[in-house]
């Protein structure tokens, strides 16, 4: 196909010249890169690097603030800090059913022979190792990694889910 009025192309072999195929191929590759590339970049753009939902690394005081053998509830951070003879654990207080904050741990009673937490929304009941004792919750509560900051304070990393055996020995 030629532009109206343009001179006819040389009919001889294109010796020493880059072939149409190579040109077009390279051209299309470049074009696609400059379209697909930015499209992918735009998708990356949409994934936020910072969110304003609050930090995931939470400072929760010092080990001395927690008496041994207790389960403290931190409501604003939606966490339980469990201190037992083994050490510190951080248990999420976010119910695995539909993300309500499950209630504080209460002593064993007639119904449940161990301390348990009841979720007010749909009645799930959890044990202090996260197990689901009852209710619509599909899986146990998560444990978060607890570590000791260099300045001696406890840090809970709500972005790091660990097994229930994971404990910070203090």
């Amino acid at each position: 196909m030629q532009r109206a009025g343009s001179p006819p192309e040389s009919t001889g072999p294109d010796q020493g010249r880059v072939s149409r195929r190579a040109l077009l191929g390279t051209g299309w590759c470049g074009f696609l890169l400059s379209i697909v590339g930015p499209a992918v970049a735009n998708i990356r753009f949409l994934f936020p690097n910072v969110v304003y939902e609050g930090p995931t690394l939470l400072k929760v005081g010092r080990p001395e603030d927690y008496a041994p053998g207790t389960i403290m509830v931190l409501e604003e951070q939606r966490l339980f800090i469990i201190r037992d003879p083994e050490g510190f654990r951080a248990l999420s207080a976010i119910c695995t059913h539909l993300r309500c904050t499950t209630g504080p741990f209460v002593q064993p009673n007639a119904q449940w022979k161990e301390s348990h937490s009841r979720c007010p929304c749909h009645g799930s009941v959890f044990a202090k190792d996260g197990r689901v004792l009852q209710g619509p919750a599909p899986r146990p509560l998560d444990f978060y990694r607890v570590s000791l900051a260099p300045d001696g304070r406890l840090i809970v990393d709500t972005a790091a889910i660990v097994a229930k055996g994971d404990v910070l020995k203090v």
Binding site: L23, G30, S34, P38, A41, P55, P150, D151
Partner: protein, 379 residues
Amino acid sequence: MSRRWLWVFTLLGVLNGILFLVALWRDYDREWKRYQTAFFALEGRKARTAREEEAVKARRHEFIQVAVAGSTRMDRCMMCHLGVEDPRFADAPQPFRTHPEIPKHPFERFGCTVCHGGQDMATTTQDAHGRVPFWEEPLLPAEYRQATCGGCHFGADLPGAPLLSRGRQLYAQRGCVACHRIRGVGGALGPDLTFVGSRKRDPAWHLRHFKEPQATSPGSTMPPFKHLPEEELKALTVYMLSLREAPQALAASTPLLASIAPVAAPSPRTAVPPRAAAKETVTARVPSSPRPVSSDRLSRAKVLYAEKSCVACHAIGGVGGKVGPDLTAEGGKTGRDLEWHVRHFRTPAAVVPGSIMPPLADLSEDDLKTLAAYMLSLK
């Protein structure tokens, strides 16, 4: 299509592809990532336990920010200043060095810029330190850092900020209140200083202004204060810088240490504590008077003259302010004897109607007479 068009198409395609790769690189290669990498390396060397080593290995480049409670500040300083809460980095070079703990001011609640200044949301060194155009709050130099304490703590005496407290004292003692108003208290001759720290954030400006007001503010009638020692001027500068709009709810949630008005009103009832002559340095230069006054009385008079900052408003021999009358030839004025001067010192407005001179009510009778005698000696 002709070859020419194919070449154009290809070239443009290649160029655009390259441009995309350039954009990709510029977005990926960030200054803060390099700092973080260096920090992780340092951290790795300091790891002692297996658990610590594992934690360091798991470290990835990340965005770190502190949402300062009660404000819209989002401090990202810790993206590079990673060691501020880690005592192991006390000897590390900046930006990794440990920051001393400030009791009752946890970093995760207060952030950094509230005290240090700078641009909270920036993630490059220049921008974060605020030394860029269009950012009005650059990092405060270390020697003036106590100024920011005063943004929230309005009390007269702040234990952790001695320079600020001194500045507040000096403001009262050097007579600034005669012409300037802070939070409704003071004279109206000069500009209101309640938020001067928000308007003039450069300490050098304040120092220049104290020493030579006309240089920074043409047309100003403020007398120069270059007779004050440098450390006093610095303290006053710290106080000036502290006068700024507090980070709203942050201040509201912190109990203020004292009442709102840090400055004594110029009324006879308030007491600006008189200071013993020995602690004062006499810096006002006054020409010697031809009328002999006993030398120790003269030096006492000069001490009082300086202490009460009379030079702020009155000029003698070309030195001093133009707010009040020139005193160079005060002794030659008719109708003014010792009594007159003493009465004038006590209640200026009663003796000279319309006078804005603050009364010198807290001086002893003897001191008033000394000053009066000095006035009479000026010829």
